[in-house]
Symmetry: C2
Subunit: 432 residues, 2 copies
């Protein structure tokens, strides 16, 4: 039956994992609420042209693209930002700014499957539209920190860079945008030699090459030092100098917010998507070599999609990757294990009574599983024990005559006769 399994790169989440996924999603939604982001839902199927526009060569080549039955070229979204920018450029174009939008869902890329990297993956995505100010960038860093902390992760670090530094230099040297994109793609893959080769080929000056060379090896967590070095290196490039100053402003605001973020600046940092124009960042934990989150500033995308010029900054958090990091760190969820009740009729004639009692308890908000296999009571009790049921209600003729049932505490292995009308109260009083 080999056909009947998941497609390569796709996966199922069984109950234990699905629970963690929904837990992270809930924390992301809570974070959205705390920072004033409103949720929207955009489709998985988008026009190819939209999602390809600024995805970058890497992502573009790995999209799930196909023709629908009407002959439209479509693609499964490989990321959220293009969809949100589309919405802000069209339907939501008249919404007052700043516009804070949140979405969560699944995304698709035909990557080679490996640890933490699947072809269907899940993200929560935050976009802050309309502000070009460094406090907007700081907010996106801070909310990401809040989410990582809230799910219970430890030792996560922010890797931060600024696309404006490298692009600023390349623009001063009059490199075409296409060439710049190619250089940034190679930088993203840490192919610094190759990237510098392209820059040289494109006719950049010796000074440019030297500056680039030094930038790509410049990183560290002494923020003042690294920023100082960057400033010196790019002194003769105006746009790049502005970028360094902007990065400094953002990091100052983050620091002065009082939140303690563990930050490494990486001057040669680039990301695969082509739309970034300013600060970019990723989040890592020591246990995994893939980013748990990534984002940055993209001031031109809404405009590209036909909207008003709209500066924007955003972040995507990899929900399944965060789950993996939590599993590696053995993070425990802060949910309360709730009472689980099972109702067992002693014979077939009492199934209706069992259903009735089950419904009554559910209407009181108590989680109830009704025995639906018509097993003998002893057998059903064994099953309840294996499933971690906390309380069993046994519905028998004799007790029913007195409008009562047997209530069994599975942990304490004690049982008592309880009036049906007192069941909900009794269950609510007893511990889980």
């Amino acid at each position: 039956m080999s056909a009947f399994k998941t497609v390569r790169g796709m996966r199922d989440f069984l109950p234990e994992e699905a629970k963690i996924m929904r837990y992270i999603e809930e924390k992301a939604r809570k974070t959205a609420k705390l920072y004033g982001y409103k949720e929207i839902i955009t489709p998985v199927v988008e026009s190819y042209e939209l999602v390809a526009a600024k995805a970058g060569e890497e992502v573009r080549a790995r999209m799930y693209a196909f023709e629908d039955l009407g002959g439209r070229k479509v693609a499964l979204r490989p990321e959220f930002t293009a969809s949100v920018a589309r919405l802000v450029a069209t339907t939501m174009r008249n919404e007052p700014k700043p516009l804070r939008l949140f979405c969560v869902g699944s995304l698709y890329r035909y990557d080679e499957p490996q640890k933490g990297r699947f072809r269907e993956f899940w993200q929560s995505n935050f976009e802050l539209m309309g502000s070009e100010k460094p406090e907007a960038d700081a907010e996106v860093l801070l909310l990401t920190n809040t989410l990582m902390r809230t799910v219970g992760l430890k030792n996560y670090t922010f890797k931060i860079g600024h696309v404006g530094v490298l692009r600023g230099i390349l623009s001063s040297e009059s490199l075409k945008e296409e060439t710049q994109n190619h250089v940034m793609q190679l930088m993203d893959k840490k192919q610094h030699e190759e990237a510098l080769g392209i820059v040289k080929e494109a006719g950049a000056s010796e000074k440019c090459l030297k500056t680039m060379q030094r930038l790509v090896s410049l990183r560290g967590s002494n923020i003042a030092n690294i920023l100082g070095e960057m400033e010196k290196l790019v002194r003769e490039y105006e746009a790049a100098s502005e970028a360094v100053k902007n990065l400094g402003e953002i990091l100052r605001l983050v620091k002065e917010s009082g939140e303690k973020l563990d930050i490494t600046i990486d001057a040669g940092f680039a990301r695969g998507l082509e739309y970034y124009t300013g600060m970019i960042f990723e989040v890592y934990t020591p246990e995994l070599d893939i980013a748990l989150a990534g984002g940055g500033r993209y001031d031109k995308l809404v405009e590209l999609f036909g909207g008003e010029p709209t500066p924007a900054v955003g972040v995507a958090h990899g929900i399944d990757r965060i789950m993996l990091a939590m599993q590696e760190q053995r993070t425990s969820l802060t949910t309360v294990e709730e009472k689980r009740v099972m109702v067992i009729p002693v014979n077939e004639g009492l199934i209706n009574e069992a259903l009735k009692i089950s419904e009554m308890l559910r209407n009181e908000g108590i989680a109830v599983e009704t025995e639906v296999m018509r097993r003998r009571v002893t057998k059903a009790l064994e099953d309840a024990d294996r499933r971690g049921i906390s309380h069993v209600i046994i519905v028998g003729e004799r007790e029913l005559k007195e409008e009562a049932v047997i209530l069994r505490d599975m942990q304490k292995k004690e049982q008592n006769e309880v009036k049906i009308k007192e069941l909900a109260e009794k269950l609510n009083l007893s511990g889980a």
Copy 2:
């Protein structure tokens, strides 16, 4: 910029609608918990062979099917049940029965877009695996009722039938499964004449045709009457008689559960999916002519996918359709409108303080939007008013010297100086 819009049949949910969608999803998850269903997450992209196997001709022809970059024939899932049955036939094959599984997500069919019918739609899906007993069928009806009631819908009705009645007759007349499927497809589309034509052509007896004819026009909400009529009509068909008896048992248990379901029996009722073997049902409200939910028993599917013979019954609730029904009925959500606070620095030099206060309040669980546009206070206040912000915190030099800020109640239009360390308490005490 015509390319940059949603693909035909796809849609965006703006914040107001996304809120209702998530509200229904949350109620579905709560229902799952109340009835002991555990959540799983299965992929949107499945093998074509899997989802096509028992989808029925209608659905099969409208699937989003394509080859992935590795040349695999895949499809976007048109429904959940095949995926859940796959999982139960493979990874979860050794889980003890009954197995109660829940999932929620988006599905894809290339239908002609119309009111309430989009090409991407959303469902919550419940499957009860392992019990052939009528109490299992009753449970699925009851939990559907709980969900509909919990979201606040009024006047919804259950349309209930049993595939075993018609199929029982057709099997007695030795009609091939393929022919039966064709007949059921036509019945589903209410093309009764055409369906009977096929039955006649296949060589069925005069008695069969007459029985079928009378069955397809037999429906009503006097359950005892309709069941009695059905029983009489199919008396000479053993399997069909068993089916009527089974339907009667299910409906008796539902009735005796104490929940008041508004039920219509439709003896000629069929559903598009081919895998149903027993009771089938749909839920309607008077405002819409599309079903809000649909489900039934499918005892052969897990086996077909290579698993142990596993009787099963399930239901899918159309989340976006339920939303539409709620909008038609003007159902109000039972969520509490929460306090929304905005923090505004009076000048650029105080942005860091504004961020710090914002973070402090969020750490106390208060939802805060920080001013990130560097607008003048009057302008920012106007904006806060328009957005329905309940409280504004104005961060100024003078108050800061005394470790205080201005707290403005936007409804009452009152403002006071408040110590920063007392802010959270003050905000928590004041009404939303």
